[in-house]
Subunit: 207 residues, 4 copies
């Protein structure tokens, strides 16, 4: 009897996509909410304001990095959902776990911005990315096993989806490891990895 409720719950992949788009949209916009304007009392000339804005640039790099991170995972989730025939209760909850990690991203970003030189902040940021990757990998594995994937999916697509997550997460892990040297090296490496995936730098052809 009970089983029947779980069979009927969470079947709408469309609504899962709509909720996901909403959460990504809010998280992406909230990233920058914490960016405060320079304190009025300290600004007396155009030059002061220019310097104050220039002092924001490292923060802006971190925000851009987080926006790209969210963009990468949004594209990744969208690609998976596009190939689903339908959803079920368990898949819905795996994606809700994924979305919980998305809502933590603005916090991780603020933490990294406040403590840019602290390895702890960088590892917390990386842990957030790791959870995003793990849940997305888990979701695809489950969808495949549970027969939720569309039947007309080209044969090479499922391994390509898995490979992409594994390679990207390996590169992020390398970036996190670089924090043994210096957190700036980590951030620089992660931004490069992201630009590679987002803009598709020259590297792409060699890989």
């Amino acid at each position: 009897m009970k089983f029947s409720y779980n069979q009927i719950a969470g079947q709408s992949a469309e609504r899962l996509a709509a909720l996901s788009d909403g959460i990504f949209a809010v998280a992406m916009t909230l990233l920058l909410l914490e960016l405060h304007t320079p304190t009025r009392e300290l600004i007396h000339r155009e030059g002061d304001l220019r310097h104050a804005l220039a002092a924001f640039s490292p923060q802006l790099v971190v925000y851009l990095m987080s926006f790209i991170t969210l963009g990468i995972f949004w594209v990744g989730q969208q690609t998976q959902l596009n190939y689903l025939a339908r959803s079920d209760r368990d898949l819905t909850w795996i994606h809700l776990a994924f979305l919980f990690a998305v809502t933590i991203m603005p916090f991780s970003t603020r933490l990294l911005n406040e403590f840019l030189r602290y390895r702890t902040a960088l590892l917390a940021y990386w842990a957030n990315i790791l959870v995003l990757g793990l849940t997305l990998y888990w979701s695809w594995g489950y969808a495949t096993r549970a027969g939720l994937v569309r039947e007309d999916i080209p044969r090479h697509v499922p391994p390509a989806i898995c490979r992409r997550i594994l390679i990207a997460q390996s590169l992020y892990a390398c970036g996190a490891l670089l924090s043994v040297l210096n957190t700036y090296w980590s951030i620089g490496f992660i931004v490069l990895v992201q630009l590679h995936y987002a803009i598709g730098l020259r590297l792409e052809k060699k890989q």
Copy 2:
């Protein structure tokens, strides 16, 4: 004459779903907005930051609990809307009452986080969950009576929906009762109930 306006208002179940997804998305993301980063002045070493983050963990449990609560009710509402043939004005307003309770959730969560040992805060949190359950139960009862449910709905689905809400609310009420002993017992019990519904722990087969 007047009647005609009420007959034509609020008929789009799709837009009700879209508004709901939006409100759930914002509420779920705002839960964590209040989680402030540790104060910069108090952090001098990696160890300080690690301890400050570790001190967040009880708060994170409460946030996770609220996220799962919202997830459970989102799945519950989605399941109902999936079986609707159409909406009407009254059903729309019942769901707006449900959504009002959703927008209060971030406040209840902050309140519980600030006053973790106060029974008053826990009962306010539980009252919020109770209103969510009541409005959802009311909405299904109304939809059934008003003939808004799809005709091809399997016969065992409507009672399963009602039973699920009643059992879950009974368990939440037990959790609230436990606060007579201690609010931590309540929170622990509620989290267990939620994990049961979300992840589907072993318990499920026994019930």
Copy 3:
């Protein structure tokens, strides 16, 4: 030549609905964002917290009133959009003006909450409702004249839509007028008008 761009812009009523749902969802959830939890330092016993929460109740009435206001106008806009065959650039901009008034609602609500006894705050709140009504009335008038309305619309629907807005706005204006006596009378009257529209109190049959 120029004309052609304006002819092709803003034709998607679906995306207008999606943007509207998003803005309403954010505005409805932000209403309560400003509701701060009681100050920790002032709370020493369960009784203190109960009293502090009880002191919130007038604020909660104002929040509820704003939520219902937004709900009423969301239903009103949805009803209009349901009857549109398509949109055009001018209609899109009329609805953007309507949505601008929606985004101001959280500010008007906070203002009224802070200055509950000030007629100025109440009149500002009413002005916000007035703009919502005017733009919605304008939008329907324009859609009718520009031939954007679906051809299969029942004959009695367009006058019912206009009448509804005019009667509701007259009642809101009466509420605003009552502030000559006392702002509490105004708020009480407006809440009654809203409950009438939302819940459909007994009054409905007499009107």
Copy 4:
């Protein structure tokens, strides 16, 4: 092998539209979040509150300007997406760059509001508009070259889309140039340009 993932990623123009609507909705609503109510302690009479609200009016002009800016670019993006047959990974990332500029808008607006007389603030605001225009122009150019545009698009539409962006950006650049004289001239000019596009002032026929 790698290529295959990029071929399958980001193909849903519908989800790109949904994410865009969400981000625009949040950004449009957050614009006004920073508008604080007058300080309670400074208000003793109705007259004080009236004056305090009147003092907001220049800020309200800036908010309105930003809302219209976002509205213009929302309409512009919608028009492009309406003519797409499908999306691909590169187009998705161009639009994510566009959306990043959208999420910066609330910050630029706050900056301009705080430093209304500073040319630096106005140029930062203009730079934000410029990036919005450039990415939108880029997106259309790419979509045309990559064959993503619907085949039934009327022949005069693509040049009209390009011309519109170029003319509008030239006018915005003129507005930014006027800040050599005075930032108020710039703001006034930009608001006029926007009203021209939004409301379609008389100017339209002469252009």
